[in-house]
């Protein structure tokens, strides 16, 4: 037992081990998976939803679930800003939900995490917006049922624009100029969200580029996009942008509380804007960035997926079919009673009277005229890569070309893994 070193080792190793194990034990405590017992009789399903901001949404989803009589459906309402992370992590465990809402992303298909739903969608395929079918299709199989389409665009207060003598912007330069003119002591001209990431895709489209082309190759690395990023940097440093607001872009409060004159947001918040601001609210798409570009709108939205590795795949599919294919009443209620969303099914869209006139109709027009849908090949890792580009060259003053080069590396690595 040579005095020093062996003694030392054992003690410090044990001490370190003790610390580590204490941390491990603590971490193991949080095993509340929300399945209350599970119930020995009767079948049960667990579904994941991200927390919608509109009042009544959680109750609505639970109400639909309760109306289903073939299984007890438990809803996990995931609050917090990183639904993706929680979803992706849980999908690997035994506590994975049987069905969940998300956006179409091909890595979920390639890794066998989402079930093929072609057989339940096929009978009503023609009733769906074709773009919503395309965005969920890989090799002829359809992997998710679209619940709602959510176009994202700018909301503005016409009274403030009039007072400042500003016209509705049709180019990014005009938007920057308008933001400057609309900024007064207490009100900032424009709010794009706290990290600006919501406008990345619209900016790319409005610069005449795209995320990926049809061959699934990088299409965002163009001169127009670089020019757009430089303009965004100018806007970011101008002092006319509302930053670090208590709520992010998806929440209507920045514009509603009079913190800004224009805000990037989504169709879902339209009822709240109207309720607070009355008629003093208008919408416009992301303006064109370059002369070659066109205004654009991101047609986001949410779809239901079935966990292919779950224990109740068939039952989950049945539930998805029951609620999101058969129950049109609930689908319309979900799309128009809380926030405004565009029903992906033509038959429901046609009967949704709330979206037929006034501002909602204008939103639908922007959706149809300028909308870009999800590309299933554009995955979370690639989304993050472009968010890093914005962080590096818009919020930080880095060189856009270099930042895009860096993103290319990540995206290429990803593309190679997915498409070979």
């Amino acid at each position: 037992m040579s005095a020093m070193s062996s003694n030392w080792d054992r003690r410090s190793v044990l001490r370190a081990a003790a610390g580590l194990s204490a941390a491990g034990a603590l971490a193991a405590c949080g095993s509340n998976n929300g399945r209350s017992g599970g119930g020995s009789s009767g079948k049960s399903l667990v579904q994941y939803f991200h927390a919608y901001g509109e009042a009544g949404t959680e109750q609505a989803i639970k109400k639909y679930a309760k109306a289903y009589d073939k299984a007890a459906v438990t809803t996990q309402w995931i609050t917090g800003s990183d639904f993706e992370s929680k979803l992706f992590a849980t999908l690997l465990t035994k506590n994975a939900p049987d069905l969940f809402e998300f956006h179409p992303q091909i890595q979920l298909v390639k890794s066998g995490q989402v079930a093929d739903l072609t057989d339940i969608i096929d009978p009503v395929k023609d009733d769906f917006n074709p773009a919503d079918i395309t965005s969920h299709t890989v090799d002829g199989k359809i992997y998710g049922v679209r619940m709602i389409d959510d176009p994202q665009f700018f909301f503005y207060r016409p009274s403030l624009l009039e007072k400042a003598g500003v016209k509705v912007p049709t180019t990014l330069d005009e938007l920057i100029e308008a933001a400057a003119k609309l900024t007064t002591g207490k009100v900032k001209g424009l709010f794009l969200g706290n990290d600006l990431h919501a406008v990345i895709n619209p900016m790319i489209w409005s610069a005449g580029a795209d995320t990926l082309d049809e061959k699934n190759q990088i299409a965002y690395h163009t001169d127009g996009v670089i020019e757009g990023i430089k303009k965004m940097r100018k806007l970011f440093t101008s002092g006319d942008l509302l930053l670090d607001a208590p709520a992010d872009y998806w929440d209507p409060s920045a514009l509603n509380q009079g913190l800004c004159a224009m805000q990037f947001c989504g169709m879902w918040a339209m009822p709240q804007f109207q309720q607070t601001l009355g008629d003093d609210i208008g919408v416009f798409p992301f303006p064109k960035v370059t002369d070659a570009g066109k205004p654009s709108v991101y047609n986001g939205g949410w779809s239901m997926f079935v966990n292919a590795k779950g224990k109740n795949v068939d039952l989950a599919k049945e539930y998805v079919k029951w609620l999101w294919i058969d129950q049109k009443k609930y689908q319309e209620d979900w799309a128009t009673s809380y926030g405004f969303h565009i029903p992906p099914r033509t038959s429901i869209a046609q009967s949704a009277t709330k979206l037929k006139s006034g501002l909602p109709a204008e939103g639908v027009k922007l959706f149809n005229e300028y909308g870009h849908f999800d590309n299933i090949g554009w995955t979370q890792a690639m989304i993050t890569a472009l968010e890093d580009v914005f962080a590096d060259s818009v919020r930080k003053g880095g060189d856009p070309g270099a930042a895009l080069d860096k993103a290319d590396k990540t995206v290429d690595r990803e593309l190679k893994k997915l498409f070979g």
Partner: protein, 321 residues
């Protein structure tokens, strides 16, 4: 004087902690008792620590995306990827900056608080509790308060309101990294949260300094104030100070919550754990690359700890006293 092997236990090693009664009971089969008492701990250790560590090392050689049971062996590819992208290496730099600020400031602040509270004649218990209370607050809750009410970027944020009195424009504390105001937010949050705890440690140590030392110093002509502090108090606090600094360093290494909550979606201000979270557990779910980073980080910590042990004699045991 180790008591951690069975061979040692066969001798009446627990002499130090011995009270006559339990010792007699244990004597019969000390090996059995050793395992009886340590096995719950050891089982937990193996399941929650060593298996994950081993698994992580195994994962680091595979392409493990969206799975923790991969089958595609890629050798050192993950390691190359982690070292190639500047993010992981940069995160070590971020950690260094963070530790260089937070360790001395917390040390100084908690010592200062302890001295102040120690001097109090009245309400000592009250102030002790008041300063200690933030320790009970969670980092996540504090981050949200810091982000949404103290340091938000709009005119009614507390910091901006105060600055507004002096005619200073609203500052975007977190969104704009230029100048890096976010460090102020992070450092103040952590200072508020952890100083109280270390204050208690210092307070205990201060109360342990024999009054006679101060009397002797006074007789020898030491002036109260700086001189006494420098030559009596500080040397007497040496053991506590060392412990506090080590604990602070460990805490800094583990920094995650406030960075994660305050700086969402940035490419800066990411200490190693946050970086690894984004690689392995966040949206990317790249367990291979994440594990490779974790293994390298572990190696680094091991090296630093060994080095530190050599220099400070930490953990050398009682002989060195």
């Amino acid at each position: 004087m180790s008591t951690t092997t069975t061979r040692d236990l066969a001798r009446p090693a627990p002499a130090k902690a011995s009270k006559a009664r339990p010792r007699r009971g244990l004597r019969g089969s000390s090996t059995f008792n050793f395992w009886l008492f340590t096995s719950p701990f050891l089982i937990g250790l193996v399941i929650f620590v060593y298996v994950p560590i081993g698994w992580s090392i195994w994962l680091s050689f595979f392409e493990a995306r969206f799975t923790v049971t991969p089958d595609k062996f890629v050798g050192f590819d993950n390691y190359r990827f982690m070292l190639d992208n500047n993010d992981f290496v940069g995160s070590l730099g971020t950690f260094t900056v963070f530790a260089a600020f937070i360790v001395p400031t917390t040390w100084a602040l908690s010592l200062g608080l302890a001295m102040l509270v120690n001097r109090l004649r009245f309400l000592r218990a009250f102030f002790r509790s008041v300063f200690f209370l933030p320790t009970a607050c969670s980092y996540v809750a504090a981050s949200l308060i810091w982000k949404m009410s103290l340091f938000n970027g709009v005119r009614f944020g507390l910091a901006n309101t105060v600055l507004g009195w002096f005619g200073v424009e609203n500052i975007a504390w977190l969104a704009n990294p230029d100048p890096p105001w976010y460090w102020l937010v992070i450092l103040t949050a952590r200072l508020w949260l952890q100083s109280g705890f270390y204050m208690i440690l210092f307070l205990a140590a201060l109360q342990n300094i024999p009054q006679e030392l101060y009397e002797a110093a006074a007789i020898d002509g030491a002036k109260p104030g700086w001189q006494t502090f420098r030559h009596i108090t500080l040397p007497q606090l040496r053991a506590t100070s060392t412990a506090v600094i080590l604990l602070l360093l460990v805490a800094a290494y583990q920094a995650f919550d406030e960075f994660f909550n305050l700086l969402s979606k940035t490419t800066w201000g990411r200490p190693p754990l946050v970086e690894l979270y984004y690689t392995a557990l966040g949206q990317n779910q790249d367990y291979g690359a994440g594990s490779a980073g974790a293994v390298m980080l572990t190696l680094l910590i091991v090296v630093v700890t060994l080095f530190q042990g050599r220099i400070m004699g930490f953990g050398r045991g009682d002989e060195s006293k």
